[in-house]
Amino acid sequence: MRSLLKGTIMAIMLSVVAVLGWSQTEIVLWDFLGGGDGVRWKTIVDGFNESQSTYKVNGTTLAWGDPFYAKVHVGVVAGETPDVMTYHMSHFPVGIKGNDLRPITDAELKTVGLSIADFNPALTKVSLDISKTFGKAGVLYGVPLDTHTSILYINKDLFKKAGLLAADGSIAPIVGIDQFTAALKKLKTLGVMPFTYSSSADSATVWRLFYTLYSQMGGGFVTNGKISLGQLDTLGKKVVQLLADWTTQGLIPNNIAYPDSIALFSAGKAAIMFNGNWEVPTFVDLKANGKLPFEYGLMAFPKLFANQSTWADSHSIAIPNNTKNPISAAKLKGVLTFIAYVEKNADKWAAGGHLPAYLPVLNGPVLKTLSPVNQYAAQAAKDVFLEPVNPAFGVADPAYSAVDNFLTPAITGAASVADGISGFKDAIQNAQ
């Protein structure tokens, strides 16, 4: 009886609202996208709102990292969630275990013309693997929007001086660690920092460099769904030793912060910068404004060891698992419509340097001509090596802080390599 009454009142209210012309369904969105990413994201959201009049997406940007995921979790528990949100694929294991994510089925995707098969298989394979290990098999806990990865930013003027450019002016391929170290040493003779990366209080960047080299050597963290850290004692030590040696030889900087690393490179005082593809717009803008005193180029991280693989993560679009106030069918339809719009317009997102996850866009004509992203996109999309499938890894998770705590001091010479690795191992083990 009560529900009938409630339903009647709702129906009356809705019809009044409809008559008055406020028939739009509001969809609340939370994201963690700041800087240039934030601007592009808002353009896409605005584009969606203008493209139709049934739904209106209202976005709020929150702080990246643990604050975001803590807020989402508390929101789910309290039943006060947004309708849709951005989410890192590397955080799925924690999100699924904490019941924060609502599964999205292939059938649901098909209602808006999408399908799991439409996305970069390098991403969906791992995503489905995570679903199987921590949640329900065969569903996605978030629809992948992009792959973001680490690339190399190259000062071509310095490369030319060091004889590292091919005859046609392109960057000559560098293969193998010996050739790479030799190139760094050559660049050092020019009186510049050969290779810059952010290491001061920046777990993320150090982790990405470490994990890339470790994975290229064949190192891993998970065997048969269980954490296994044995390779850290062999391969992990090798990687940290290599970076520590580079630091001692002055080939990479000792402890500089993220903005300093960008400043060093954009001032022409570093030959190579290791950073995420999301800094691409920074250099596009600097070049366009005539503020970059050299020619720059971009390349996928080279193959230095046995495997050609590079750290990558994926921004996904997920639906909070609000069991207290479950999402209504109308809103779900709106959320899925929004997701489909975002995926089909992912070329706008790619301008931020990201590689779209939606294959029709990734392999489409726009991306092939999208400069300078096309300098690395094809190779980088193949090299994708996602975070270990374990709750200890990924954005805002224990392994990140363990990197700054133990690996960075060993790399920068403040502690021994052996101590760094053993501390790192303990920290990951304790987080299990």
């Binding site: 643990d66 803590a70 979790h73 508390v74 789910v76 528990v77 309290a78 924690v94 904490g98 001061s200 209080a201 900087p253 000792n254 402890n255 500089i256 912060a257 300093d260 805002a396 998770d397 224990p398 802080s401 700054d404 705590n405 133990f406 960075t408 001091p409 920068t412 010479g413 403040a414 502690a415 101590d419 501390g423 304790n430 987080a431």
Partner: protein
Amino acid sequence: MATRIMKKRYPHWKTALLLLTPFTLVYVLFLIYPTARVLYLSFTDSDIAGIGTFIGGDNYVKLITDKLFWGSLGNTVYFILLTVVPNTAAGLLIALLLDKMKRFRSFAQVLFFLPYILPVSVVTQIWLWVLNTNYGIYNFLLGNHINWFKSVATAMPAVALVTIWWTVGFNILLFIAGLKAIPKEMYEAAALDGVDKGFRVFRHITWPLLWPVTSLVLLLQLIAQWQIFNQVYLLTNGGPFNKTIVVLQYMYVQAFQNGHGGYASTISMALFVIILITSLIQLRFLSLRGNS
């Protein structure tokens, strides 16, 4: 009957009640209730949203054998040793010097107090620049490349230095007020008795008469420094090698990174008890000294 006695003894009890109610409400709602809730959570295996089941004293058993907890406690004690007495001594010394200044005294007072009004994020940013390995002014002037916040030996002392720089202004203020409260006649009488040399005057007049202020500063410092978190979180994040992880930082890691709300509550309760005990001991010890 009781009300009549109340009315007789406290004729303005209604006003008193009215005035007390807002504070009591806020106090119960925002202090007593959360404390009780944390106490309860410390007996559960909750996540950060407080969802979990009662597990009895398991968290406390775990705490006793948790090496990292004891490590964080040791680091906090080390930080206290590096700050409480040095910060009080620095405050006293600067206050004495300011007291002697004839010109620009107010200006100098402002300069020393200025850091105290800065938010912690600004303070830590300033020092991250000053002590920056590659571009910091300190390393530039001394021509070295010490990695202040990343070296095992220098990280905690560097955090302590930043803390003293930031908070000494408040201690100076208290000491200046204390010095002003010492009657001038005391010094005049001492001069008549032939005690007018700097250190002897300090030893026999200034120090004992200033003791109530000194003990207050020490107590405030001790309570504040047990709760060290912000500077560590912003400067070193507990590293390198957990050498700067302090109790509250460890609680934060357990709660927000590892998602162990129940265990984090247990750590909070342990810190609560520790602060309570040290404050009681110190209060007793200091007031005894003050009376003698």
